[in-house]
């Protein structure tokens, strides 16, 4: 039986297009220092460090965890690196939690980061597959045909993506750490932005960001003696599937459904839409909000877009999605999943500031990566299970 554990410290950087003021190590250290201060501990209290980032090609620095060990003061401590593409921030937090759940360590520090300005993600994600046809154009080029498939299948009107984008950009203005602070978007203006990867518009795409997120996770024994709010980890789940196989459901991948089913079962949730107070979901392209609402079992199939249109996912709706502004407002890729997990923790700790959802008791963090093939989720609560 796994041991109970909790998030007791959350620290993130100011996310920006280019943090030229710091190196990768400085960026990571900024988040770590804030998480340790938030947890009111020092690095000496940390038993192990689990670090994650997206593909090394994004910055062109291979195995950065080796040289980051210095910046993390990891001397004499175990350091682990996790990689599951864009979902890595989520899966890294889960691996960290599992070290505590397994009873191996009492206090674990976990970090996700990306310094996109040091490299070129569009290039890194468009490297030709050997001897294939080089028509692939970055992540947008990969996901756009899948979005078109969703629109065709669900009959969603074409402005749904823009509604999500305006909501997330508006929410981000309440989050001082968010990369984009753009308060003046309207649906009308959003619909005038150009199609980059038709049917995906400019407004409906995430920015490229530099940023990091760090969390401190403690065992129940230690957390009980620890002053301050905690986010108890009720359940974690991860699933994966191959990128391509005959008959693969690309719009709503089976691995995503299985990940959510596993999470709901472990957390004792029978009606996610009613029982979850706030959802931080990985939405790098706006259309993925309705698509994931369906995939994770919140909305019925082909109905997710109606929830968006009806304002269900607004800050004031019955299921607020991404009050932090989400990936659409900050995308340091390797940190983006941990930002979802950490923002979920902040909500149930009552520490989300201006974007706090009043009375949030149960929050879900979600991340996906690769060709919609890696999924990671956790459910955290202000109360013990």
């Amino acid at each position: 039986m796994a041991e109970l554990c909790a998030v007791v410290g959350v620290g993130q950087t100011k996310h920006a297009a280019c943090r030229a003021d710091v190196s990768i190590a400085g960026l990571v250290r900024e988040a770590v220092d804030r998480a340790l201060i938030d947890a009111n501990i020092t690095i000496a209290d940390v038993d192990a460090i689990v670090i994650g980032k997206a593909p090394d090609m994004l910055e062109g620095v291979a195995m950065p965890e080796l040289w980051l060990a210095d910046a993390l003061a990891a001397h004499g401590k175990p350091v682990f690196r996790v990689h599951t593409a864009g979902s890595v921030g989520g899966s890294t937090a889960i691996v960290a939690a599992q070290h505590v759940m397994a009873g191996v360590h009492g206090t674990v520090l976990t970090i996700g980061f990306e310094k996109q300005s040091d490299g070129n993600a569009m290039w890194a994600l468009s490297v030709p597959i050997p001897f294939g046809m080089p028509v692939h154009a970055g992540a947008g080029g990969y996901f756009s045909p899948i979005v078109r498939g969703y629109i065709e299948r669900s009959g969603a009107p074409k402005h749904i993506g823009a509604i999500v984008a305006v909501k997330d950009r508006t929410n981000a203005c309440k989050n001082p750490y968010a990369h984009l602070h753009e308060p003046d978007w309207t649906l009308e203006k959003a619909l005038e932005t150009p199609m980059l990867w038709d049917p995906i518009r400019f407004i409906e795409t995430c920015p490229s960001s530099d940023g990091a997120m760090a969390l401190v996770i403690m065992s129940e024994e230690r957390a009980d003696k620890h002053a301050g709010p905690k986010a108890w980890i009720h359940a974690t789940a991860m699933r994966s599937e191959p990128t391509a196989f005959a008959g693969r459901e690309q719009i709503s991948p089976r691995a995503g459904e299985m990940c959510a089913e596993d999470l709901w079962r472990k957390a004792g949730i029978t009606n996610p839409a009613k029982e979850v107070d706030v959802l931080e979901m990985y939405v790098p392209f706006a259309w993925f909000e309705p698509m994931w609402l369906e995939n994770l079992g919140f909305a019925p199939r082909n109905e997710g877009w109606r929830w968006v249109e009806d304002g269900v996912t607004d800050m004031t709706g019955s299921l607020p999605v991404n009050p932090s502004g989400g990936v659409l407002s900050s995308n340091p890729i390797g940190a983006s999943g941990m930002l979802r997990f950490g923002e979920a923790a902040l909500q149930v700790m009552g520490k989300a500031g201006e974007h706090q959802i009043a009375g949030a008791k149960k929050a879900v963090g979600h991340a996906y990566g690769g060709g919609s093939q890696f999924f990671a989720m956790w459910l955290v609560s202000s109360d013990k299970p």
């Binding site: 045909p145 299948r153 990867w197 196989f245 005959a246 008959g247």
Partner: protein, 165 residues
């Protein structure tokens, strides 16, 4: 090198060339392309036909793919994207249509370029055929096909195949 607030930023190149062991499945695919043939592989368990059979095994059944199957050359567009965004390493003039094409006889789509029609006329279910480059330019690559173009046949009703892999 540029300096902001007295801090250096260095602009440095990165380039890699590498060897790739294609293995028996990709080898038969690539050897086929050098003769203008589209050769896929059938799974002995679920009978799915993979083109190209990039892996040695069926991703669903984990059975080793052995039987060659010639697919296409015509196919149907299952979904597509109109690319308007310029990026490093790009070789094709914008805007272009990158489509998922399900070749006749295959059970998984592959991505290729659509030309010889306006981007706004491309549809899910549209029938297309390959236009090969001059044989003198052929190598072990899907780039031997310059692009796909509409055949003019009636659209195929895709149903649940729409937007699928």
């Amino acid at each position: 090198m540029s300096e902001a607030d007295g801090l250096m930023r260095l602009r440095l190149p990165i380039a890699v060339t590498y060897n790739w062991s294609a293995g028996p499945n990709a080898t038969s695919h690539l050897a086929g392309l050098m003769e203008g043939k589209l050769i896929g592989k059938r799974c002995p368990s679920c009978s799915s036909v993979y083109f190209p059979a990039r892996n040695g095994v069926c991703p669903k059944c984990a059975r080793i793919l052995a039987e060659d199957v010639t697919v296409g050359p015509k196919g149907t567009i299952t979904t597509f994207c109109i690319v308007n965004v310029p990026f490093l390493g790009q070789k094709i003039k914008l805007p272009y249509v990158a489509a998922q094409i399900l070749l006749d006889g295959a059970d998984i789509s592959m991505q290729h370029l659509i030309q010889e029609c306006e981007a706004e006329d491309v549809r899910i279910g549209m029938r297309v055929e390959p236009v090969w480059k001059d044989r003198s330019e052929w190598g072990p690559s899907m780039e031997n096909i310059e692009h796909f173009r509409p055949t003019g046949e009636p659209d195929q009703v895709m149903g649940s195949e729409s937007g699928a892999s």
